[in-house]
Symmetry: C2
Subunit: 334 residues, 2 copies
Amino acid sequence: MKSSRIHNLITAAVVGALAFTTTVVQAADALRSWNDGKTKQSVIDFVKRVSVKGGKDFVPVPERVAVFDNDGTLWAEQPMYFQLAFALDRVKALASQHPEWKEKEPFASLLKGDVRSALSGGEKALMEIVMATHAGTTTGEFEKIVRDWLATAKHPKTGRRYNEMIYQPMVELLRYLRAFGFKTYIVSGGGVEFMRPWVEKAYGIPPEQVIGSTIKTKFEMRDGKPVIRRLPEVDFIDDKEGKPVAINKFIGRRPIFAIGNSDGDYEMLRWTAAGDGARLMMLVHHDDDKREYAYGPTSKVGTFSDALMAQAKKNSWNLISMKDDWKRVFAFDK
Amino acid sequence: MKSSRIHNLITAAVVGALAFTTTVVQAADALRSWNDGKTKQSVIDFVKRVSVKGGKDFVPVPERVAVFDNDGTLWAEQPMYFQLAFALDRVKALASQHPEWKEKEPFASLLKGDVRSALSGGEKALMEIVMATHAGTTTGEFEKIVRDWLATAKHPKTGRRYNEMIYQPMVELLRYLRAFGFKTYIVSGGGVEFMRPWVEKAYGIPPEQVIGSTIKTKFEMRDGKPVIRRLPEVDFIDDKEGKPVAINKFIGRRPIFAIGNSDGDYEMLRWTAAGDGARLMMLVHHDDDKREYAYGPTSKVGTFSDALMAQAKKNSWNLISMKDDWKRVFAFDK
């Protein structure tokens, strides 16, 4: 090998290493809403391990798949899942078209403002509310309904728009991963078409990377134009065992990074962890009743059971303490 | 505005225009298996219209979605769908584990080499064959079975491997579109997990951009490790009205470019055509019995009905004549 060629190779290697270091430093700064410490460092170390070319844990860019739960992981979920708040508001908005609801549960209780009684009917009552408020429209109409709701509805505790209730450290983490070639996906129990209208702006996640629960839809002609109509029938529930099933169906690759916050995410983390090579599994722990909420095994929303905590410890999954690891929770925090 | 700033702006515009022109020229050269003429030009013109910044038909990169049917559009489909050839080979391979098949239709006829009698049982017989050969394994096992089959099975007419029976002009078209920022998807009636093991290498389409028919799957633990098992139950048939439904579910954006070759693609083209702004709809016409096959309205495989031809003419969808528009059909052609 000619010495000039050797020189060129060395130069390339040094420049490459410098560029990488610069990127890591810049990106670490991009995680500015994270407190320095073990948790932030575990993310930086993992990203470094999988992206240094020639390293033993190197992962090619197309395989850098990261999956994020949404409710309680990317945005808040208390005092009730925001999609349920949407559904309840829709019941009120649609009540005048449904005079029969005054006599019919769960709608009658809801319209009297008694959410607890309305939901006492369990799964069946909930499904009736979901179908009455999420089906019947075309996909285009539903998108507009979601957008209009987000533009006006306010969170009961903070008075903020729901799409402002997103975790700033997570927005930074998503951006950080993408800067290193990761493809970031939402894998949520929430409805796909409830998320798509706002998640691209909120998280930088495009519609085709939103995986969630779905109702069936039907292609049909309306006034000579094709539409897709939303039917009052469950297609898929993207929760628990459904999450790895949906990941396989929509992505067809096993993620190397997975992050959730509740029992519904256990199988997704388990599926991610069972692959070969370097991977990172994380769980957000809501332990911050000052800036957000503190809840765990006894909460009906976002249950983080003792069994999940035991699994997290046994498998060395990383816990994110909202209180200790996050410098800031929401962008609107000082 | 300072004159130096004006100068910079002009320079930037000129450089931009030059860069664009160079890209168009290079890319047109990339379509080298296409004969010059109206069809090739319609592709080049369309791509130019949607990608010139500031042009009235400009489409932002994330919205440049192109959907391709697979059987008969990206690869051949005669004398039978290749996935059916796979299924028939699997029946033979599995026969020793199923002694009961000797007496049971449609398997008995198949094992005697009488495909016609086996398939005379219609949809029901076909489903029995599909489920017996596509379900029961884990997703990982099935991927290996598909890879092993592709490595050995040969097309009855050309003697080539099935994944060599891909249309070279289409491989170039996919590459050309991607060079202009398009995201290219398969939207096929074929099975997702039958396509994923080979389409990335063949077409440059990654697993997460493969939409197709699916059977149900189930997450379960096996020897302490999670697996996804394929169940003998249809989940979704991605054909006809199913195509726009799946496009909405998986992509969540309406394509601006759609290409198919048979009646199963009509609704996909219709859905694509009904959006606002510039769009291109194309249909491959198999009229080349010398280099490939010639078939149309009377073919059971890849039916191109007179009604579809009438719609194509009425809506000015572009017909691709395999005989006239393609300089070469397969990469192995001289």
